[in-house]
Symmetry: C2
Subunit: 205 residues, 2 copies
């Protein structure tokens, strides 16, 4: 009997979307449980780390979004063939996380002066530096971030870019041709394209 | 012929120490290249992401410290037997990273008022919450963080606690008996104990 999957996350792409991309890529049926702002305070204490997403697999509750994505990647055949390929994939994912965390830090900063300062650092330093590095990875790997083939790093990247573009308010990878290629290599996968076409639109913030 | 390893990091435990623990655990000979503050500006542009640590393996340069630690863990037999065990290990490591990042954010904050605010959040919220969670993991896994056995999550935890205790200035895990047990399970491994006894003392900050 196939495993039963239930993803619980906010009604948003965010940190849940890489996992959704991976599940859809693998053709895995799953319950896509979407929590509203009103529901979250009641649910929060019952989650393992007070955070979403969580993924229930045959009743076991998995947490920590990147670890969950790596686990799902192993189930759908999107990891590397060798330990070194898996290092390369992990390093690309962690580099995506590096810019995701900086965009989130800017977005959630309450102090206006500090927020402006974080935005300048993002635009003038963080994004140009990290995106140039990732663009080079993608150029070296034929339009993928690692291992010269489609891996979960690419799905992770495309989903995170999708979400961060929504909060950033502009397509910040547009001038990085190899990153545009990575995104396109992911969003043109039929199962992903179909999911993007029918999924709820982000309307959280 | 065995692989040739060279770790390049600052003359400090920090993000290099989990990798050093793993290499020593595995009995892997490696060059422990320690960079001084004076040397770093010249070296930085030649590193893949402008960051240390990097680990050269037979001339290939690996970067992103957690990804490197996971890679070394695969070489020394400290990963899980199943995909779910590896998820559990990764989730524990990411939870250690969650508190490490918050301690670092406090430590490096330049604004005195903000720094005090971050310290209060650390002491009253972040550390009690995350350390209680990790202590529960350790209790459930017989003195290890995951998979009911020694894994790289434990070595990662012990090395990061070592470093963060140095910058925090107090043994903040002392009141969590299961975390003390995890640390002791790691530091009593002969190769790790011998390394700790002979390694350079942190004197960076």
């Amino acid at each position: 009997m196939p495993s039963q999957y239930k993803l619980t996350y906010f009604d948003l792409t965010g940190l849940g979307e890489p996992i959704r991309f991976l599940l859809h890529y693998g053709g895995i049926n799953f319950v896509d449980q979407r929590i509203t702002k009103d529901q979250w305070p009641n649910l929060k204490p019952s989650t393992p780390l007070g955070q979403l997403p969580i993924l229930e697999v045959d009743g076991r509750v998995l947490y920590q979004s990147v670890a969950v994505a790596r686990y799902v990647a192993t189930q759908v055949g999107l990891t590397g063939k060798t330990d070194l390929e898996n290092w390369e994939i992990d390093a690309a994912v962690d580099t995506v996380e590096d810019f995701r965390v900086k965009i989130a830090a800017w977005f959630f900063e309450a102090n206006p002066a500090k927020k402006q300062q974080l935005k300048q650092a993002l635009d003038n330093e963080v994004l140009p530096f990290l995106l140039t590095k990732l663009d080079t990875f993608a150029n070296n790997n034929g339009g993928y971030l690692a291992a010269n083939k489609l891996t979960w790093a690419d799905l992770f990247f495309a989903a995170i870019v999708d979400f961060t573009t929504y909060i950033y308010g502009a397509d910040f990878i547009a001038k990085y041709p190899n990153l545009v290629r990575v995104r396109s290599n992911v969003t043109s996968i039929p199962a992903i394209r179909a999911w993007i076409a029918r999924r709820p639109k982000d309307n959280w913030y």
